[in-house]
């Protein structure tokens, strides 16, 4: 019998506070491996203060993201908030800024991987070894992403914990061995070392340490009891990041103090010798014995490299998801979100933006990458803050499952203090990064102009309004909202892929990882061995699984199953029993608009190991039809 759960009682999601914290920290925590050196080069002895100030802005931004995401639980972050609060044009501007963040995340993470691998081969630490290594890494990851690789959530979790533990260990060792309040005080000469403008730029640049903040909102759909676990997970992440990002620079600057340079200014080895691998700089200057230092260098080098590779990959996945989302909202040309015919991945977007990331990496200037990241992130975050403030005005009575503490009255509305403070902070940082770095305003401005030209010309060519939301129509799931199912099986045989079937299964499934399993059956003729090489058919079957993943996201798993003709019903029933499926969603195929109750469907309906739902779309025959765009 089908196990049915009323939707309003079915918030059985998988991620608790701990899992949310680990995932968010895993993403945010990778940034320190490159941010520390870049910020120290400008902020010198005030680097810890720069991290604390940007950390407070980060905390406010996290609060804004949590409020917006819990209110509108959908992908897109600031772009999504802006769509609801303002209009599609502002949404595009936020999304395009976010796109720049992802590209720079890919570039800067890939650029620093060779630096840390330099513990094995010295040339990787300097140009051109780091540039070539970074580009090769981007190329490999792009190829893997085009082919359709999967992230291992468990591995990421283990690495995040290892990362956190290592950073805590370094802080403890540093506190015992090198921490020196006197040195820290001597490091600072207000207005001179650093100059005020360099300190302001240091604050703006230190925002790169908080790369990955959007993870908190992206995981909302898989969180248990989101109004409680998401704020807690975000809160723990903010606390850990704030604590470690204040303490690590303190240790680093105790070990590598600020000294006068020959040019008459001031410098620290953290921002020069170890700018490319600042955490290795801490290890080497802890004053441990030679043997222990060497062992720790190798450990930190490998750990940092692996974490940065994962961050590079996360950036690439972010680019493809954002492209897909922007494409669906008709913000980017269809060509860009086109799915590969064989691998079913948005290959054009992956390749295009990987090339841009590689070009960004070629000058080999970490500070330029950092300012570019800051430009895109600050713009995007400012829009997010403004959108959340405006939503308080526009939708004052709308239910907000979570709101940050503290608000100020404004014309009868309650405006969140965190969004006001965070918005002012990110806007000020955006202005600073442009004003103090003219290359950034030229490149960042060029990027935004390019985006605006593409957006407006595409919309005009498609005869679409500039400011209104227009979405590519995906098949509407069946109207079965009154129940949810714990796990769903979606079988495909030789029939064509059906987006309607997968969309229906997605709606039916509880929001639970691996809630939907796709079995794509490949009929092997009886005269061939069951494992006979059938590359074309195998690819076709695998493509259905990949397309389902693109529609249903992370909760979809799937595999290709080879069967003999006529075995499909038995295979489906056995699979349903094995995975303890609560429902099977199958499609009813049509030929010349006549429904075909095939043997497979009849066989499954005859046994019914659980509830069987049949989707039907008489307007679509086996050839399929492209979705027409309509205004939403």
């Amino acid at each position: 019998m089908a196990h049915r759960v009323p939707r309003d009682q079915s918030l059985q999601r998988v991620h608790g506070t701990g899992a949310l914290f680990s995932a968010a920290y895993g993403n945010v925590g990778s940034s320190i491996y490159y941010a520390l050196g870049v910020v120290a080069a400008f902020a010198l002895g005030l680097t810890p203060l720069a991290f604390v100030i940007s950390g407070l802005i980060f905390a406010c931004t996290a609060a804004t993201y949590v409020e917006g995401t819990v209110m509108f639980p959908e992908a897109g972050g600031s772009s999504s908030f802006a769509r609801h609060a303002f209009n599609e044009l502002i949404s595009f501007i936020a999304g395009w800024g976010q796109m720049l963040n992802y590209i720079i995340t890919v570039a800067i993470s890939a650029f620093f991987v060779p630096h840390y691998l330099g513990v094995f081969w010295e040339p990787l630490r300097t140009s051109p070894g780091d540039i070539i290594g970074g580009i090769v890494l981007i190329a490999i990851l792009a190829a893997l992403n085009v082919k359709g690789s999967q992230e291992s959530a468990k591995l990421n979790l283990v690495l995040a914990i290892g990362d956190l533990a290592t950073q805590v260990l370094l802080v403890i060792a540093g506190m015992v061995l090198v921490f020196s309040p006197d040195t820290l005080i001597d490091n600072v000469d207000f207005g001179i070392a650093p100059t005020w403008s360099d300190f302001a730029l240091g604050i703006a640049l230190s925002m790169i340490a908080y790369t990955g903040i959007e993870t908190i909102s992206n995981m909302s759909e898989e969180a248990k009891d989101p109004p409680k676990t998401i704020p807690r997970g975000a809160g723990y992440t903010v606390a850990a990041v704030l604590g470690l990002y204040a303490l690590l620079p303190i240790i680093a600057l105790s070990a590598m103090p600020v000294v006068p340079d020959p040019a008459g200014g001031f410098t620290t080895e953290l921002g020069t010798t170890y700018a490319g691998d600042p955490v290795l700089g801490i290890v080497e200057n802890l004053g441990l014995g030679a043997g222990l230092t060497d062992a720790l260098r190798v450990y930190v080098g490998v750990l940092a490299a692996v974490i940065l590779i994962i961050a590079t990959n996360a950036g690439m996945i972010g680019v493809s998801r954002l492209t897909f989302s922007m494409g669906q909202h008709r913000q980017l040309p269809e060509r860009l979100r086109q799915v590969h015919p064989k691998f079913r991945t948005p290959h054009v977007a992956i390749i295009t933006f990987s090339i841009i990331a590689s070009i960004a990496l070629i000058p080999g200037q970490a500070d330029l990458l950092a300012t570019m990241y800051s430009f895109g992130a600050m713009l995007s975050f400012t829009v997010a803050h403004a959108a959340v403030i405006w939503m308080r005005v526009r939708f004052p009575d709308r239910e907000r499952p979570w709101k940050p503490r503290g608000s100020v009255p404004f014309r009868g509305y309650r405006i969140p203090i965190t969004a006001v403070f965070g918005g002012l902070g990110t806007f000020a940082a955006w202005i600073v990064v442009m004003a103090l770095n003219l290359e950034t305003i030229a490149i960042g401005g060029g990027w935004m102009v390019l985006g605006a030209v593409v957006y407006i010309s595409y919309r005009r060519r498609q005869r679409l309004p500039i400011t209104e939301t227009v979405k590519v129509v995906l098949p509407e799931p069946l109207d079965v909202e009154e129940v949810e199912y714990r796990s769903i099986l979606v079988p495909f045989e030789d029939d064509p892929f059906s987006e309607l079937t997968v969309a229906t299964a997605t709606r039916l499934a509880s929001r639970k990882r691996r809630g939907i399993h796709v079995i794509s059956m490949l009929n092997v003729p009886a005269h061939l061995p069951i494992d006979a090489p059938l590359p074309r058919q195998q690819e076709k079957a695998q493509a259905k699984v990949e397309r389902a993943k693109l529609i249903g996201g992370q909760r979809v798993t799937g595999h290709v199953q080879r069967i003999r003709p006529g075995q499909a019903p038995k295979t489906i029933i056995e699979e349903a029993e094995e995975i303890k499926a609560s429902a099977i969603v199958m499609q009813l195929t049509y030929r010349n608009r006549t429904p075909l109750y095939g043997k497979t469907l009849q066989g499954v309906l005859g046994h019914r190991p659980c509830r069987v739902l049949v989707t039907a779309d008489p307007t679509r025959d086996s050839s399929g039809a492209p979705e027409p765009p309509v205004p939403v």
Partner: protein, 64 residues
């Protein structure tokens, strides 16, 4: 399809904030380079800021 007047309004709504932001950038840049409150850079920045903010305000008022 977007009409030409609609595009004009959209263009104003995009360019006016851009001009205002450029004004702020000019002011910050001038001050960070040691310019005084009545230096050319600051005055030029204020003019940019005022033009951008004023044009944006007028476009909003015209819409309502």
């Amino acid at each position: 399809m977007a009409s030409s007047s609609g595009i004009g309004t959209t263009g104003t709504r995009i360019l006016a904030p851009v001009i205002a932001v450029l004004g702020i950038v000019i002011i910050v840049r001038t001050l960070s380079a040691g310019g005084g409150p009545f230096s050319i850079g600051v005055l030029l920045g204020v003019v940019f800021l005022a033009i951008g903010a004023g044009r944006f305000y007028l476009s909003l008022r015209a819409a309502s």
